[in-house]
């Protein structure tokens, strides 16, 4: 079966580094941390009080009525905000596609936790009769897709992917597959997440997964550094517009990049810990390479999962060495989570965009806070300063609890 080529024609993002992609990319290339003390909520008694928080966000009333803005949880609002940005760049709304051939698949790891907590409090304090009819619509993980389809009239495939911190990478892979197979002409994809809440932070803190560097928030996310002590919670969205390559060219769209490979696998090992030698990660990197049809030596950049946890960072480096062999030492790697924190289910969306911007601009964003690189993570991780690289292919890794893995390969346009 001949597969359609998949073009990327639009990008949109929001995270602790900024409210739009231009701002985020400028900050990422400059190596600025988007992590700071949390300001949106009172964090008294929280085990950790910093993160990659989006400050001063308010959704345009053009995208959601003011009366609905109190009703729909933050992850929904990030999705609408960044989808608008991506749609504007792509010009998709002016394209003459059948609405039934435009779909929406996002990844969301947790869904509407802030509103679950809020409505549960009402339930406990005031009883069942005071639980809002908007509780369920606000928190279900696929409502972001629903709202996007309603706002812009996209009547194609529409659902959410949940695979923890690999969610949006899997969403992008699935969305690309829809286009490769010819079921859809265009897809709005990527991911959104906003779960900086006392309950969620407490849960991750109990797992000993979070950095506790409260005195130096901007230096807390430090993948590959010997002093790393856990991930830093982030929030935001990363949205991509994908199109059937030939149809995008025919309508005169500007092609930003191409998706050429996608792999997905499982560690089959442990609920939360990575496989120590990165066995599952190696499988999905190899699958992505196979689908792309390129030689592994052609990959120039990897935006790693690199969450800044002691075990995870080593396991991923092991997987990359295994998958790339001798070429591993020539690769340029970086973990932009050092600047954005970990966007959980939205990480794969934002970091796929980082890969695409690296291809487009020839600039590789750094891994910041690498003061002393861990000898067990001995590949080139772009420590502290961005570098110039004229690369043709970039790979994004995203892994999630449950032992799930995803790798996606992007080609320069």
């Amino acid at each position: 079966m001949k597969l359609n080529r998949v073009a990327v024609t639009g990008l949109g993002a929001i995270c602790g580094l900024g409210h739009n992609l231009n701002e985020i990319w400028a900050n990422a290339i400059a190596g600025k941390p988007g992590i700071s003390t949390l300001e949106n909520q009172n964090t008294e008694n929280w085990p950790v009080n910093f993160g990659g928080e989006v400050k001063n966000f308010s959704l345009s009333p053009d995208l959601m009525d003011l009366k609905d803005q109190d009703r729909f949880d933050r992850f929904n609002q990030f999705a609408l905000h960044s989808t608008q940005e991506a749609l504007t760049q792509s010009g998709l709304l002016e394209a003459k596609y059948n609405p039934a051939k435009i779909g929406v698949i996002f990844g969301t790891g947790l869904g509407g936790f802030p509103h679950i907590e809020m409505h549960h409090k009402t339930f406990l304090e005031k009883g069942a009769r005071r639980v809002s009819p908007f509780f369920i619509p606000s928190v279900i993980p696929n409502m972001a897709e629903g709202l996007v389809s309603i706002k812009w009239g996209f009547m194609g495939i529409n659902f959410a992917v949940a695979s923890a911190c690999a969610s949006s990478a899997h969403a992008i892979g699935l969305a690309a597959t829809e286009i490769m197979m010819g079921r859809q002409d265009a897809m709005v994809t990527g991911g959104t997440e906003a779960v900086i809440t006392p309950y969620t932070i407490a849960g991750f803190a109990s797992m000993k997964a979070l950095s506790k560097r409260v005195d130096e928030p901007a230096r807390a996310s430090r993948p590959y550094d010997t002093e790393r002590d856990g991930f830093v919670m982030g929030e935001g969205a990363g949205i991509l517009i994908l199109e059937n390559y030939d149809k995008a060219v025919a309508r005169g769209a500007k092609i930003i990049a191409e998706i050429v490979g996608f792999g997905a696998s499982s560690d089959a090992n442990h609920i939360t810990a990575p496989h120590p030698e990165g066995a599952g990660a190696n499988i999905c990197i190899s699958q992505a390479l196979e689908l792309s049809g390129i030689r592994k030596e052609e990959v120039g950049y990897i935006n790693t999962h690199g969450t800044s946890t002691p075990l995870g960072d080593i396991a991923e480096i092991q997987a990359i060495k295994k998958a790339f062999g001798d070429h591993a030492k020539n690769l340029t790697l970086s973990s932009t989570k050092s600047m954005t924190g970990h966007l959980l289910g939205a990480a794969g969306g934002l970091e796929s965009i980082m890969c695409i911007k690296a291809l487009e601009t020839g600039m590789i964003p750094p891994t910041i806070n690498v003061d002393n690189q861990d000898p067990e993570c001995d590949l080139f991780v772009t420590p502290n300063q961005s570098v110039k690289r004229d690369i043709q292919y970039a790979l994004n890794n995203s892994f999630g609890f449950g032992g799930t893995n995803s790798s996606t390969i992007f080609k320069k346009a």
Binding site: L66, K67, R129, R130, P133, F134, P137
Partner: protein
């Protein structure tokens, strides 16, 4: 504050519509474009504000701001 004024204020807050444009004749569906979920939420707010319980089969008859004001007046007697 008069009962009518209180109801109008509540409807205005819930719908983010200017109170000046809401009167006794304002219809929830035709003028304010409220759907069934909006109505459930609005009735919860009425119950909270006025300390009454509005049974589900009664809410179906409350089609305008005036209907609610009359219903609440009857309840308070």
């Amino acid at each position: 504050m008069e009962l009518q004024e209180k109801v109008v204020k509540l409807v205005s807050e819930a719908t983010k519509m200017d109170a000046a444009n809401i009167n006794l004749n304002t219809s929830f569906v035709d003028d304010l474009n409220l759907d069934s979920l909006d109505m459930v939420e609005l009735m919860m707010k009425m119950e909270d504000e006025f300390g009454v319980e509005i049974p589900e089969d009664e809410t179906e008859n409350l089609k305008s701001v005036g209907d609610v004001v009359n219903y609440l007046k009857a309840k308070s007697h």
